[in-house]
Amino acid sequence: MVRGTKIINNKNISLNKSINKIEMPDYVYIPLVTYNNKKCKFLGKIGNYVYKGEKLATSNDKYDLGVYSSVSGFIRGIEKRIFIDNTLVDTIIIENDFKEREKAKKGAKKKINNYTKEEVITLLKNCGVIGMSGTGFPTYFKYGMDLKIKKLIINAVEGEPYMTADFSVLNSYTSEILEAIDALIEIFKIEEAIIVLKNYNQKAISDLKEYMGSYTKIKVKTVKDIYPIGYEKSLIKALFNINIKTNPIEKGILVNNISTIYDIYKVLKYQKPITERIMTISGEGIKKPQNVLVKEGVLISEIIKQIGGYKFKKGLLVVNGPMIGKTLETDNVAVTKQVFGIVFLKDVKCKIEDCINCGKCVNICPVRISPIEIMKNKKNPSKLKKLKPEKCIKCGLCSYICPSNINLKEEVIESIRVGGD
């Protein structure tokens, strides 16, 4: 059985609203970091003109990922700015000329399924397609692993409370998404593709079913509305009742987020780097919660100003949802492709009490570790070794469920640090 529980989801406030395009600002701020916060090497020169989609920097690691300009204009400098994880990172400042000039304009492809595998992998790499569920893992790496892909799982579960970006992508671009999945099936000789949604998502399910007749290898499946069922291994267990011990691809299963599939569509169709994304701006502190299409490098303050501003002056500005996200000390921070949502919440004070030994954290942890035992043995390395805190996926469910309001997730993260010392 997959572990998890139904949690407060507060999705209604931004659900079923059209996607609002954020106007381009005068400047964009592109952080010089890629997957796993890896620093990148700047390839250009300050003062140079850059085209939209031009590669600005590259990561010097095995993933060899690029950083791309989301506008055309002049590079005005590089300075240390606060990144989405509150650290200071080198950031390229580009003055927008609002011309959206591209170096080499390629027309849209009529058919997107006549690429070879290698061409697709190269395109995904050169266009900077990454996992859009917040991990930022390079998508080309998954497809390029030289293992047979039997099943493609398209994760449209979107477990984080308040978040509806994936839902709106699916609703707005259903035919494009199906076209991309169909192309991937053909190019990679995939046996079947399954779009997975939560069972309450009736509108999307019926919309998808309308198209299904023409795509025989694509199926729609639903899973229970529990958190964190969107976690890759939980999703696979819920679908096939198999326990994945290493990488799902070794069992022939590849999981992509629905927004990643939409990016794959754009890349196959237009062969241009991905420099924008759809994200949710929500929370009780946002005047008009909604989903927005925003360019990479736009400041959060700018986005929120354009959609009507904040409702109150003091609160928690959280990047990537209230369960896994982190608070920011300022909204003067640029969004990246890893940001699927921003929420502004009231700071509700919870009294932390002693553990009442209810066992809820133990029985809810999706990876079956014992948060309370880890917390109790934080200073006991030999016991900690047996309790395997490093298995934690930082879903936050233990802290959510704890009746004594103990932040077990942080205790577990802390114990990983202690254990590593």
Partner: protein, 259 residues
Amino acid sequence: MNFILKQGPFLHSKNNKFNIELTLLITLIPFVIYKISSNLINNLLLFIIILVSSLLTSIFIDYIKGNKIKIENYMDDIIYILIVSFIIPENISYLFIFLINILISIIRKYIKFLNYPIVIGIISFGFLDIFNKSIILSNFNLYIFIIISIITILVLIINKSFKFRIALAFILLVTIGGFLKQDFGTNFMFLIFNSIYIIASFKLTPNNAFIQILYGLILGVVAIFLPIFYFYISIILISLIFIYVDKNYSYYLALKKGI
């Protein structure tokens, strides 16, 4: 704008400690009302004595210690008072119960380990044999008791206020035992009440679901075969063993790969 830095998650389940205790407290009320109504004057007097002796002692100790006197700090005491009011023998001396409650309240305040109904329950149950348990629930109607118990169990399961796996496993075996022995009298009713508020309470019980079921089953077997007094004593031993087993089971689960 003032952006506060804080560690997440930023949402919490509404099922907090206070709500859990409040649910336990509310579900105890029908049992206590039923008990009082079975011998109004005597049992009401006993209830008032237990309430006054326990609560006032607790409040007095907090006052001396300079602690804040807030209702949520006494939920535990009230639950204890209600449990004891239900299980207390009717022929007990008023003075004895007054003094023993003051003593227990002092112990509970200073020894955190004892600050939960389980140990108190065991101690109180210990008196049952001494004070002739047969008259305690003799006025009770089994069917009314069962109806109250079923509603209570459902409410507690819905509100996640006790370790339901332990309770259900234990009740299953005790019920089988009842059929085998053809005995659904006082002992049976005690064991059911016991399973809800003492055996399946949070403190001193295992946490892993599988171990909880085992614990409930083993205690059920013990309850069938041991005389009730020895059963209460064995709870302590069995719970300590199971807490040890539970810890090792956590290591085992953590070592397993995958999810």
